[in-house]
Each structure stands twice: as structure tokens, then as C-alpha cells.
Symmetry: C2
Subunit: 324 residues, 2 copies
Amino acid sequence: MRKNLELKDYVAGIKAGDIAILSRAITLVESKRAEHQKLARELIQEIMPLTGKSHRIGISGSPGVGKSSFIETFGKYLTSKGLKLAVLAIDPSSQITGGSILGDKTRMAELSIDPNCFIRPSPSGKSLGGVAAKTWESLLLCEAFGFDVVLVETVGVGQSETTVARLVDFFLLLMQPGGGDDLQGIKRGIMEIADLICVNKADGENMNQAKLAKRNYENAVHILRVDSMPKVMLCSAIKKTGLEDIWNEIESFYIKQKGALEKKRAKNLGLWIKDMILEKIQNDFESDDLIKIAMEENHQKVLNQQKNILEAVDELYLKFKGKK
Amino acid sequence: MRKNLELKDYVAGIKAGDIAILSRAITLVESKRAEHQKLARELIQEIMPLTGKSHRIGISGSPGVGKSSFIETFGKYLTSKGLKLAVLAIDPSSQITGGSILGDKTRMAELSIDPNCFIRPSPSGKSLGGVAAKTWESLLLCEAFGFDVVLVETVGVGQSETTVARLVDFFLLLMQPGGGDDLQGIKRGIMEIADLICVNKADGENMNQAKLAKRNYENAVHILRVDSMPKVMLCSAIKKTGLEDIWNEIESFYIKQKGALEKKRAKNLGLWIKDMILEKIQNDFESDDLIKIAMEENHQKVLNQQKNILEAVDELYLKFKGKK
């Protein structure tokens, strides 16, 4: 039985670079017990002045794209440069097993025993918002601890990318060679938020396919993006190629964003708060049984033209607002 | 001064194919006066049994793509086949001038004097939902009147496409040759809802550019779409080419959808109702001054870590729900 730590123990441990204490601090943040939550909040407040200095990088890609191998290879590349790296994961689906398969240390055999790397699986939780909020606080703890780079990994399906994009500064999307049929799992909006797209598995027999995919993604990005145009690069986790180009691209992003970064982070946080509230309201609307019944009734009446569509909308809206 | 029409006059006129009466019926539907709205509702209910038989086709494209010329040429092609065509427009921006530039008869000189064609500009209105709802009732009137094809034109910017997609069966997106820089005005989501993409201006010196654009759009669609894959075709409004292929594609859609169409229409209507309600709620949230202030306060507190992000979300959510 480990002795209970007090606030000052956590703070001192994090400042001293004690990885076991960092680990326990994240467990504290993830705990649902009220006294833990209270202590966690005090801890976060205490370490806030130490945060803000790391590169916060989101990474996503559909299953099968080789995300674990890429993180292993890219992570080793970073630590070989003398950088300290933390890998966090967001996977709301992990609620099913109660723990995450993402961030599992067995997936990244070499990286997980690297003294300059810290890997932490996704917290469990019922809602994406809740899981992301805990990952956010873990990210702050890792920053305070002194990691140079924090990678936040996500599963590449569902809503999690747009949420992760709010947490990080830079979003890297991993793709694989092959036309697009193999991308069925990917959420449509991801291509629109990526700061960099990397076609993995660009090696051996896949090389031509990978080059073709690169061109296709470049065209797609050109059509889709009206703001900044993310580069599309080739890499191979197996052959350890493309890593330097990727890192240079990230570094140049931070140089370009210097000064604007604080504002971008604050803005993202605001958008994240708004997203979470609107998501709650929408869930509320969609899961309310009375609204469901009223919706069905009104739908039928509009179909039969017993009711005008604007009338139906107003009635349902007022019903939801609780004014009727 | 025209004499006031009664319900039976409108119904008889529409059944008799009196275009002047159809025009006045649409004016009635668009009127904001309470007695007009009451009469309009009775009229729509009366003509409902006559609706449902036309091809409802949405058409969009950014400014400069040659939409008016295309509708003129394609419209003439349809009427030359003996089909009766109505062209409606949705343009919420027309509130600024109080009337719409879209659907303006001077844009389509030949089509506007074609006895088998009826062109109607966008209704004016403050909200997209309101404008679309009036266009919806105009569409029902046109169907009851006996038009074979109803084209609903939209501006190709903003939210109007997703709304129009709920009103129609088939959505045609017009594009132009050239890489993508010229697409800056287009809404990102449009490519995802199109049933057919046509590259216009595929003539003369533009031909190679148009072919290249076709390939690029095909690739983009391949990457983006996980459901059905819309075809990409070439056409030229000036040279009157590609029209038959487009019409065949639309016809084959209706053959394939036969049987499923009624369900699709009902489902779209339900989604449209839901969209409008959620849009109202979100507008409500974003325009509430007290929420705005509370949002700003909470954002700051989260930034300074005086408040946990989930706490802030819950507080704002409850405030909006009026429970706090």
C-alpha cells in the first residue's frame, strides 16, 4: 500500500522530475472520487505557471495506418535528438473494456522503455468531453514536468479529432497508400483540420502507391482547404524515413506561430468549451423521449401538410426550451 | 388593382394551368400577413394530393461558375424534350436588397420567355430557414401545377446547400476548370452532398483544364465519400454539350430510387426539421448576451485554471437551460 501523497508531495515530485509521482498525479486527475478531484484541481492550479512550453501535437489516422509503429519510430527519433516526449491517448471507446488499448506500452516496445519517454493510455470515461478534459489536465501535468513534446493520439474515427484539435497546437494526420477505399473508417472532417498529412508505409513495393496517394491527397487538400494548405509528405515507420522532414515542418510551424501561439491556444480552449456545451445540448435534444415523440408527431403532420414546417419547428423549439 | 382571390380560385387556377394564378399563389405563400398565411396554409393542404410527381433537383456552384448560363441551356434542353420546368431560387442574402438577384429573369433571357418554363426569384427573408420553408411551399405549388422538373438554385456559399439538399431529391454541383484557387467561395461540405458534379466551361481552350479538373474532383470524391460515389462529368453551357449525359444520370437516379424515393423524401423532411431546430437553439446560445458574458468569464477562469473545464461547461450549460 502506497502512502497517500499531499499536494506539496505532488508538486515537489513533478518539479524534481520524479516520473512515478507524475504517473500518480495523472491517476489523481483521472479519479472520480470527490476528494481526489479537489486535490487534483489544487494541483493543476499550483503547476499552471510551469505549463505552456511544450509542443502540443495531435496525431490521428484510421486503424491499420500504422499509427503505433509511426509513434514508436518518430518517438525514438525525437528522443535521439535529446527531446523528452510524452504520449497521451484519447479513446472514448475504451469505456467498453474499462481501460484503453491505445497507448498500451506493448504496442511501442522500444519507446516504452526509453527513459526520455512517458506513455500513458487513454483515461476511461463515458463521454468524449470527459475523456478529453482529463487528457487536457494530464497534458498540463506533463508540460509542468518538463516534456518538450506531448503527442496526443486519437483513434481516427468519430468526433474525437475535432476535439483533440482544440487541445493541441499542431495536428498530424497519418494516411496510407491506396486510393481511398481503405479510408472508409476515417471521419470526413479530419482532412480539413490537419496541419500536416503524412502518407505512411512509403517503402518497398508500396512506394508507387504512396506517391500516387500523396498526389491525390494534395489535390483533395487543394480543393477542400480555403485557409492554410497543409503539406503532404511521405514517410515509413518501418524504414525510418521522412522523420526529419516531419519534424522540420513542425518546428517551422512553431517559428511561424511564435507570438500568435498564446492567442491560438486561448481561442482553441474557448471553442472547445463551446463545442462541449453545444454537444451537450444536442445530446439532450436527441435523447429526450418527449421531444422524440413530439418530433415524430410533427414530422407526420408536416408530411400530411396538417402543419406548416415553420410552425412545427417553432413548437418543437419552444417545447425543448421548456417554455411550452 | 387585382381582385382578391379566394381559396377555390387559387385551386381552380392551379388545376387549370393558369400561370398567373400560380404566380399569385406563390406571392400568397411568401406574404407575411396573417390572413395571407392562413389562406396559404389552406391552399397548400388543398393541393397536397397533386404533389410529389416532379423531379426535385437542387443546383449549386460558386459565383462565376456559369450557373445562370447553365440553367438557361439545360432548361432549354429540357423544354425542347417537351418537359415543363420550374426554376426556384434560395438566396437568404437577398434580404439586403429586399429582393433577389437570383432567378432574375434577365439572367436567362431565352428561358424566361419559354412557355414551358416558369422562373421565380428567391423569396426575401431574414433567416435561411424561413426562406427555405417558403421555397418548399412554392415547390409544392409548382408540382401541383404540373411541372415535370423543379430546379432549386442556390448561391453556393454558406449553409444554404445542406438546407436545399433536404428539399430536393438530387443535388447537382457545378464546378469550373482550374485547380481550386477559384473555389475559395465554395462551402466545404458541398462536395459531400452532391449526387453529380459537372465541370462547366469544358470548351475551346479550357478543355484540357476541364479534363484535369474532372480528374481532380474524381480523386477528391474518392477520398471524401464513403457512401455513394457521385459521377463527375464535363459540360459546356455555351457549346450546349454534356446536357444529355447529365439528364440521363438524373433519369437513372430516379429509376434506381423508385420505391425508395417516398422514404427518402420523408426522411429528408425530418432531418430538415431537426436542422432548423438545432440551428435555432445554437443561434439562441450564440446571441444571448448573458451567456456571452458568462462564456467569457468562464473561458478566462479556465485559462487561469481557477476553474476546471468540465465545471465551466456544466455551469454554462445549466445557465443556458435556465436551471440556474
